[in-house]
Structures are given as structure tokens and as C-alpha cells.
Symmetry: D2
């Protein structure tokens, strides 16, 4: 018997994405007041590790045809010139979303699928290709603003609940949670370390699951606080949310522009690349106000 | 004097993206009836060239940590195991959007910027980083359905106008145009060649500009018909739309599922990766009905 | 007890490379009559799969700085201009040498090391970094010449022994064996398939080991005949030579120029890149006559 | 008129490689006393920049099939298991040799070829594919040993000549010059900077050319001292040797083991990968004593 069996059935590989039904999407659309579109991604610079942790390689951007070629004498054949390029990047090395296959414990990932199902060929289970585009409502909580003294502390459940309550929007299943910790603001200013980060404490996990959030996205390295302070696990929130409940995590967002509008909720769109067997995807999340 | 000067000023690098104002975004949102979310991207398979033209390399998907490593004896340190990967792909080798820096003629790209501004370092002008997320209304025209006899012919302006008129939705500035030619349907069935494709004839260009479309996206290789039949230019629609008017082109979409709903318009969301100096980006476009 | 234990001890990771002692190197040097240097490698073309089998990606050659950049206006700072590039290639996708970690059977590789010691981090045992430069005598056998009727047949032991005997050079421990099958000649002419190749039959294995050859290098895909005709193993010579005895195999050499000199022996130099944990290396083998 | 015309003719792309004739190769072979083979390369570590300068990306080593895959349940089909990998590295990012196309001045490279002939497609002139394997005699000069006080100074011509004279071997055309500066010894100990390096002063250039050296190889970043101290050029020795005279430079060698033998000359073998249009190649140079 599979003790891990998901509420969406033993074959399910999509997890809490199942919660984003048409009603959730509609609820997201209904938050829009002005039609203002905001990108929540950091730039990808070739040759730079960007905000990624040191174990991940730098992004590379290679030009395979460029204007210089023509300046050097290449003719514009058939009435036009063009440029072409190749991008290479760790899927977790810039603003990204984790596939459910990204983490496991005791050899088991979400829904009891086994770590051994992730090989050199990619993830045959729970890959990022099992996650379709996310269009839903996001509740926005900001712990990173000026004058907030707790910016480099763990964000505990009471603080999270209080901040959500302050926003006045009641969470509903299929919602996303957007958490600004201030880490990215500090990183952009050259004042943050990729292995030390404010973030959610794992005591938030049960409430997040209970409220039915499909996704938690943050402006830090791991959504959760680093180091976690948990002697048994470096990333307990990952295990509780991704592994145990199929809740998605998205990381390294830039929420600074969004934060200026001080809205408790927005429409959020995240559309991962359909990488077969990928264990994550770079994304350019979009908030619409 | 710069004879190419754009209507958005001589410094403009965003082109027709300027047309997607808050009203356009709102118009897109207003088309949604059900909250149904549809991905318009083809899968990205490591090792496969997918629908890309032969001059572009295959996508590669490399695992830098996987479950097999743990099966082989690696310990789950700190209470968890994980997988990590790297994706490498030509930005134009799967479902993608062209940057305005992608094409030029006579050494000049959009707004008179020069081809020489695209070097091994990338596009210092009109790169994909100058294009923010697109959230707007799309008019959907379908020339690829069963029983349609003109699937491998050029789509001329009269046919395009008639089909748009049939849809009953009047184009407005900032709209996108989604064109299904049937090429991808044939490609998926193994019956299409990447260098031969139905598509728009360049006689559609002026009308597209006049109506204020910000983007034309299609399920084929180049939006336009290949070969173009134009003795002066292999890709005249690219030159007219991208170069002369800053109108964006997105290619290699899969519009088959969307087509089943036979809607004349939908909400379209395209969110390119923020690749600094990139001349295109892989995307997973989203239609919401 | 490790039943696989090597004659060079249970910790040995270098295999038959141990046979190439100073005497073997001297013997190689003594074959040189003219000082004529011949490259035995095929060219590496960016974007081409070359002679590699279909499961391996094409080589890619990316310029990260080039002359076109300067033509486009980049200044020669500090009194010079320069070009820089990046090469990406499957280590077995062009003329190459296999590491002992390249193959195994029943989970065991050379000297009883385990397949599980080859992970996403590379081969912690028997990687190509355990193989130093090879400078030794090679016996040259040519089955690929014009008028030779057996070019696409397996080369059986009797034929191999007869051809070596015809050459008049008695094999000595630490020698290499260079085998021309004619496959590369056919491949260059567009008349060869990467999965069908003349080559040594596995009945040659014991004699190769007994004579003390440290290396067998050939102008074909796998040194051995493909398909092998062995119902139990697709590559029995690999298992017998690499796994059971630590004898190295090098593949995809171009022996056409060398063959024109009709020498029974030559000095052979092969110097693999020192890729830590690599399971092979591209090489440019050198014959000196 | 091409004022740059080479002594080997206006079409020549090989430069001083022409000097390595059969006599030079024989002279190299004649230096061998013991048959001792020494690798002069540093290891290539995936994920590490190694001794490369900061503008070059780190090497990457990707496994596309490994033992962990089998541990996870993949079957050894057809009687064997195997590992496969891909290496990606900047050609100048580890022990390497420069192609003549690597540098230029005033838009002209060796023999008057133009920088514009090096584009995104690679070097159509003077690429590394124009350089065959080098098998020749090398004169060894050691400025890096213990107790040598000038290790971080420029090595001027008088010191170079004196050290060569001390060795007692008269240079002959086609010889190589192996220069140990001590930089790599310091780098391995974590005490060297990639932009500060002892090395040859450009006042050595004329003598190197006059003596007919085909190659100068060193254990530092650029063969020459960095910074050069020349107000007109950051790398005057590169320009004088590579550009003006087609003399090859090889860099980032590890000469520590070789130095222990205190030999004034050795056989040197360098066999660049045959990368079409490459502007350099990683190498594993071999000294034979």
C-alpha cells in the first residue's frame, strides 16, 4: 500500500495544480482593477550566476549569428539579415518554479513516486511538463519593506496569518501566496548571501495546505528561511509542501515593483517552459493589478 | 536624420509593445468566459530539434543531480534529496517569440538601430529584455481546420480580413493576432517540412499595422508563408512587421486545442524570459477562455 | 572476495596502461624512420554529429568574442583584438578514447568497481583522468584497403593473427594495435552507417590480452564489429577488453593517410584531456613514421 | 600589397608550424633518454573555472548516462551497461594552445588575414584546424624554482638567453620553448592571481623569432608577463609572436613534475583537437624524457 497516496489519486503527478480550477482562475481575473502588468522576474545575464546558489552553473548566452558577422562581410542573402542565439541555464538558477520531482525524502517524492524515477534522462514522474500554466489569484504578503524589523528572521505562522488577515482577503483553494521577504532587495543592493535568507518557517506548512494554496512564491532563495533551524532537515518546508502535499514553490522573484502598489491580492500568471522531464523551469511570472 | 524613426520616438526599443496599454489588457481580460487555461507551447525534448529549422541546434537537457545518484549510494544529507538540471536551447528552436533585434535589412533594424549593435555579447538594442510580459486580447483565425482546402497556400489579405470579419470581433490597437495555419498539426503527424509552410502573405502587413496589432503569433515556422514567393526577400513579412513597424512575431505555437473551442477571441499571455541581449525567447503562451 | 581483482592490484584504476612502461615507449620511438607526423583524428565541426552514433548530441562551437564584434564597432582596447570560443561535445562523439568507466556488466566495471560509482558527478573510479598520455609502439593492421573483399565482415582471430604476422613485427606487452577496417573511408564517402560497421570479432579478445596490448584503436564506431552477432551481448569485445582486462579502446580514428605508407608499426601518441571523472575524451592521435 | 606577407607565402595559415619539419621531429626524438612520459596539463573539473581568467566561463561536465541510472532500475540491455558524457569548455580555459586566429592588431592577424574572417561561424582563416600535431624538441627553461628571487618579475631577454645557454642546448629552427615561471605552482597553492603573472618580457620576441622557435609554452596565463608594462599594448608578445610571425603560444601548463628532472631539453608532443574554425584548443601536452 502506498502510504503517500495523494488526494488526487495514486497516479497524480500534478499535485496542488489540481486546485487551480476555472473558478480559481476567474477569481484571479476578478482582482484586476487597472490592467497594469508587472514582471516579477530578475534579468538573466549570460556569464552570470545571478542570484543562484554556488552549486549551480552560471547562465550562458551564445550568439550563433549576429550583426558583427555581417559587418565582417557576410551578405544579407535573400533580402535580410538575422541574429540567432542559444541560452543555457540551470533551471533553478534564476527566477523559477520547482517541479514536484525537485525534492524527496527517504527516496520518495510526491505521491510516493520514487527518486529513482529521476535519472539522466530526466524525471519520468512529476516533471515540470506535468505542470500547466498557472493563472490564478495571488495573496500578497510583504515582510520586506522599509522599517520592518523582522526582515532577516524566520516568518512564523502567526505573523503570516496576521499579515494575510491585514490584507482582508480570505484565502481560497487554488490561490497562490506571494511572499516578499526583502532578500532580493538586499541581493540587488549587494547585501545578501545566497545561503542565508529570511523566509517562511516550516510551522507555516500545515496552514498553507489547509487553506489550499497551490503555490507559494517568494523573492528569496528557497521560500523558506535559510538556515531552517530544523536539526532533521535543511529544507523542511520543501518536504512538507512539495513532497507531502504537492504544493508548488517558486523562487528568486523580484517583488519590489509589485510591493509599491500595496495590494493584498493580484492576478498571477506563471507559465513554465514545457521541458520534458525537467525538474524546474525558468519563468517570468506576471502580476496584473 | 533617421528616416526609420519610430512613432514612439528615436530611443524606442519596444515597438508595438507600446500599444498594449492597460485598456488592451483589460480588453483581453474581458474576453474570458469560463476561466479555461490552455497552453499553446510544444514540449521541449532534450536531444530533439523539435520543430526547429535545421540550422538551429537540438535542445539539450542535462541532469546535474538526480535520483540515480542516491540509488548509487549518495546519502540524503540534511534530511532531503534533490534533483537539479540544466537546459540549453536555441531561443528560436521551440515555441518562441522573436526580439525586434532578430532581423534587419540593409544593416538597419527596428527604429534605425544598426545590425552591428548585435554582437557576441548579444543585442545591445532591441533585445528580448526590452519586451515585457504580454497580457492582451487575441483575435483567433483558423485556416488549418479539416476540410479547409487552402492549408498549404499563402494566406492573402482578403482571406485574413474575411476570417477576422467572420469572427465578429473588431481589431483594436494592442490586440494580438493568433493564426492557425495547420502546419503544426501536420508536423506533429510527421507530415510537415520545416522549410515549407503555409502562412500569411506579406500583403497582410499593412493591414496588420494599420489595425494596430502588437503581435502576430502562429502555429508555423515563420508566421509568414515559406517560401515567400517574393524575389527580393525570403521573409518579407518579418521585415515589414518587425523591422519597419516593431510588430512582434511568435512562432511554433500549438493551436490545436485552442481551435477546438472555435472562439474568435481570447485572453493571451506571453511572458518571455528576461534574457539580457537575447534575440528571442522560448515561451509557453497561454490562452484563457 | 573480489573475483574481478586486477593483476595490478585491487586499487588499480589504470588497467593495461600499466603495461606502457619506459621500455614500451622506447620501443615506440625506435620505430621512427623519417620523423613524419600524421594526425589520426577526424575534424570536429560545430553543429555536426560527425561520425557519432545518433544517441549522442552534435558538437557545438560557440564564439564568445570574434572579429565581427570589432567590425561592428568594438574598439581594440589596450592595443589588441582577440577571439574566444567555447566547445561543447560528447566525449565519444568524435575521435576518442574510452575511459575504463565507460562500460560494465552485471553492475561491475574493471577491477570490480561498481557502476554506481559513476554518477551525475562523473566517474569516481576509472575515469579518463586515471589514464595518462600514451606514447608507445603501435602495430598497424589494414583490412580496409581497396580490393579487400572482407571489409564489412567480422575480422576473426585467424585473420588478425595472419595480418600481424605478415607485418613481421612481433607484439610485445604495452604495444597498441591500430586496426583499419575501412569504415571511416566509407563514412567520409557517405557510404557508411554508424550502427553497422566492420570490426574485430570478440574471438580476438583473448589473444589481444595474452599479447599484452594496452590499447586497440580503430577507424570505426566500436573497434568491434556491429552488430556483434553475440546473442548475449551487443558489445562483447568491450566487455572482454575494457571490463575484464582494462585494455583501452579508441574509436573513430581516420587511418587513411597512415595506411598509404603501409608500415607494420609506428610510434603512437594519444593524450586524453584530463577531464576529472570523464568517461572518455576526444583526442587527436598522432602517428610518427 | 599585403605588407604582412609571411615567409611561407601569402596563403599560409600555419605560421611557424612550417618550421617543424621531419628533422625537427627527429631532433626531438633524439633527446629521449629513458622513455619517461610526463603530462603537462592541469585537470579539467566540471563546474570550475580552473586557472582561466574571469571572462571565460567555467568548464561543465554533464553525464548523459551513468551508473546511477541503472541503480535506479534501468536494465543492462543487450548484455552491458554504459556511461556517456558531454564536456563543455572554453578552449582557452585550461591548458591550451592558441590558434593564430586568436589575436590581431589593427584588424589584421597573422599573414595579413583580417579579423573579420573570424565570425560566429568560427575562424575561416588561421583556425586551430590549420595546426597539426606538434612533435618536436623543446628547450626547457625554469625561472620558477625555489630560491629564485625573480619569480614575479618580467623575464627579460638577457635572463632568457643566459638560462638557455646554461642548459647547453643550442636552439634550432622548429624547436619549442618551455618556460616555467612558477605561476602555476603558486596558483595550485592558492597564491596566484589570473591577471597578475610573471612571464616573458616582449624584448624576448625578436630573439625567439630569430632562433626559429615554432612554439613557446608556459605555466602561466599568457606566456608573457602580466601586466606587460607596455603603454601601447597589453599583450605585446602575443602580437609580436602570433600576429607578426606566426609563432604559437601555449598556456596554463603544469611544468612542476617536468622541472624536477632538470633537463635542458625534452621531446614535446602537443596535439590540438581538430576544431574547425576554433581559435584555440584544450590540450594535454606530453614531455618525454
Amino acid at each position: 500500500m502506498n502510504v503517500f497516496v495523494s488526494r488526487w489519486g495514486e497516479a497524480d503527478e500534478a499535485g496542488a495544480y489540481n486546485l487551480i480550477d476555472q473558478a480559481a482562475t476567474f477569481r484571479g481575473l476578478a482582482t484586476v482593477k487597472e490592467g497594469r502588468v508587472i514582471s516579477l522576474a530578475v534579468p538573466i545575464k549570460g556569464g552570470s550566476r545571478g542570484p543562484a546558489v554556488p552549486t549551480r552553473p552560471a547562465a550562458q548566452h551564445f550568439m550563433i549569428r549576429d550583426g558583427g558577422d555581417y559587418c565582417g562581410g557576410m551578405l544579407e542573402r535573400a533580402g535580410f539579415g538575422f541574429a540567432d542565439d542559444v541560452i543555457m541555464l540551470p533551471t533553478h538558477g534564476t527566477t523559477h518554479i520547482d517541479a514536484l520531482a525537485h525534492v524527496w525524502r527517504d527516496g520518495r517524492m510526491y505521491n510516493g513516486f520514487e527518486a529513482r524515477q529521476v535519472t539522466s534522462r530526466g524525471a519520468s514522474r512529476c516533471g515540470i511538463d506535468k505542470l500547466g500554466p498557472i493563472v490564478t489569484r495571488a495573496l500578497v504578503v510583504d515582510f520586506g519593506g522599509e522599517g520592518k524589523s523582522n526582515a532577516i528572521q524566520p516568518i512564523h505562522l502567526d505573523a503570516l496569518k496576521a499579515t494575510v488577515a491585514d490584507g482582508g482577503v480570505e484565502p481560497r483553494p487554488g490561490d497562490a501566496l506571494l511572499v516578499r521577504t526583502g532578500w532580493m532587495t538586499a541581493f540587488k543592493a549587494g547585501r545578501a548571501d545566497t545561503l542565508l535568507s529570511p523566509g517562511l518557517h516550516s510551522d507555516c506548512a500545515d496552514w498553507i495546505v489547509e487553506k489550499g494554496f497551490a503555490l507559494v512564491a517568494a523573492d528569496n532563495v528557497a521560500v523558506e528561511v535559510l538556515p531552517s533551524g530544523d536539526p532533521d532537515c535543511a529544507v523542511p518546508l520543501h518536504i512538507r509542501l512539495i513532497r507531502d502535499h504537492g504544493v508548488y514553490l517558486a523562487e528568486l522573484l523580484d517583488l519590489d515593483e509589485l510591493a509599491r502598489f500595496k495590494r493584498p491580492a493580484c492576478l498571477l500568471m506563471i507559465s513554465p517552459l514545457r521541458i520534458e522531464g525537467g525538474v524546474g523551469s525558468p519563468i517570468n511570472p506576471v502580476a496584473v493589478l
